[in-house]
């Protein structure tokens, strides 16, 4: 009895309805993809966060050591450049400029600070 019921004809959508539905689906999905791509692209990447952490770590090292040279080193995919300058108007103080770059040379993070020169 149930089999008979199932074998009955079911009314399908018209060809026009199907096309409109497909168009809406395509538009909706492509909009969603664009939004998703933009969101992922514009957010702060893990690499940038790691670069900031690396710069902070390097600043701590500079603050506690007496080494006062300009250095550049690579940690994973990140290149860290350090420039130290003395301040003429403030004796015993130095300015530390730290920049983190990716492999393409794009600026990931910067850190500038004036600290006490323990090397003096």
């Amino acid at each position: 009895m149930a089999g008979k019921q199932l074998n009955k004809k079911v009314k399908a959508s018209s060809i026009l309805e199907t096309i409109v539905a497909m168009v809406i689906m395509v538009v909706a999905f492509s909009t969603a993809m664009v939004v998703l791509a933009n969101v992922l692209k514009s957010s702060v990447s893990v690499t940038q966060i790691r670069a900031s952490a690396l710069l902070r770590e390097q600043l701590e090292k500079v603050a506690t050591s007496s080494e006062r040279s300009n250095v550049s080193y690579i940690s994973g995919d990140i290149e860290v450049r350090q420039i130290i300058a003395t301040l003429d108007e403030h004796s015993g103080m130095i300015r530390v400029d730290l920049v983190a770059l990716d492999r393409k040379g794009k600026n990931l993070a910067e850190l500038h600070q004036i600290i006490t020169d323990h090397a003096e």
Partner: protein, 428 residues
Amino acid sequence: MINAPAMRRKLEASALYIVVIMALVIAIFCVTMISAAYFYRLQAQKKSRTDRLENNLHSGINLLLSGADSVYPERKTDLFGLGSDSILLEKKTWGVFTVGIAKAIVQKDTLIKILMIANRVDSAKWSSVYLTDEDRPLSVSGQTDISGNAFLPRSGVRAAYVDNKAYTGDRRFVSGHIYNSEKKLPNLNPTVLNRLKEQLNTETGGLAEFTKRIVTRSFLERTLVFNLGKHADTLRDLHLTGNIRIHSDTTLIIDSSFHCQNILIDAPSVIFSAGFSGNGQFFATDSISAGQNCRFNYPSVLGLVRFVPAVPNRQALIRIGSGSRIDGLIFAFEQQESELRPMIALNKKVLLKGAVYSPGSLLLQDSVRVQGSLSTKRFLYQSAYSTYENYLINLSVRSTELSRYYLSSPLLPASSSQQKVLQWLENN
């Protein structure tokens, strides 16, 4: 089992309805993503600005602590020469210390930190005892213990028998290096004294009475002055904190119910009732007297300062009651030396963590403990029958026990030029 009537119903494909619903779901998903991204980005920008502000503030604080000990009005400093990282710095006198204010501003965000600045001690000049050379030795008796370097008269130290007490301490008398002292105490810093004089001589004006029981004043504002005039007053049941100065032209009595933090009080005479506890800088021209078991928390200052000659035959005096504890500095200063030089007296069982500078005499009763430094022209000890000069009896002076983080006012000759944060006062 399949429900027969349900199966009999007409089933329509309705593709458009389903698609519209799916599109709505996708739209909600998109809106959620955009909102999440917006707030994440907003927070990331905020964090980035805060980090930058904190960096700039840190740099500003380092600039406040660098260079010579000076005061200056608010000035704008371009930190890195880029024009985008500016900071406002200000240093002002607060008693014998300096208050530094750093304001870092990026767009509409501002971070402010206010700190009190003091100096590290100069280990070459810092000593447990500095006794001026009056061509007579220092005598020690009982359980006297002097640890740390000492500046003593050329005639040295000797053991003495006083009040039926023989010397029972270390045979070396001083556990540390002994240097020869000069005929005069090293001078207090004249720049700091001038700044203190200027602050205490400022036209007071101000309020004549306390309208609130709890008053807190920020160091960002002008000093709140209470001028009590010639009316002898007792300060009680009050909580005063911060940038507040109380001035009186007569004796000021401070009750144990009075609580203060970092305030400044100046009067001809200040009397602290027994059991007082607080922190501040207290200056008097004639006398400061503290009752029993008073507690002056770090960094407190008790100072006898006479910038103008005093009435003849009136000795300036600081007397600390027995069982009291002082964390900070006690000093006396006279612009013109009077006949009766100022006296600082520490009664029995007083514990001092810090320094005493007395260009006159320093009276020390039995069982006084000092973790820090004593500098004086003359030591006094008073027994029931007589007064002994340059005798130390049952006294413990250990400069080595002073905290390595102790900071001194730049007023003291033993302070170094290196400035540090004495305490954080305010921030936002």
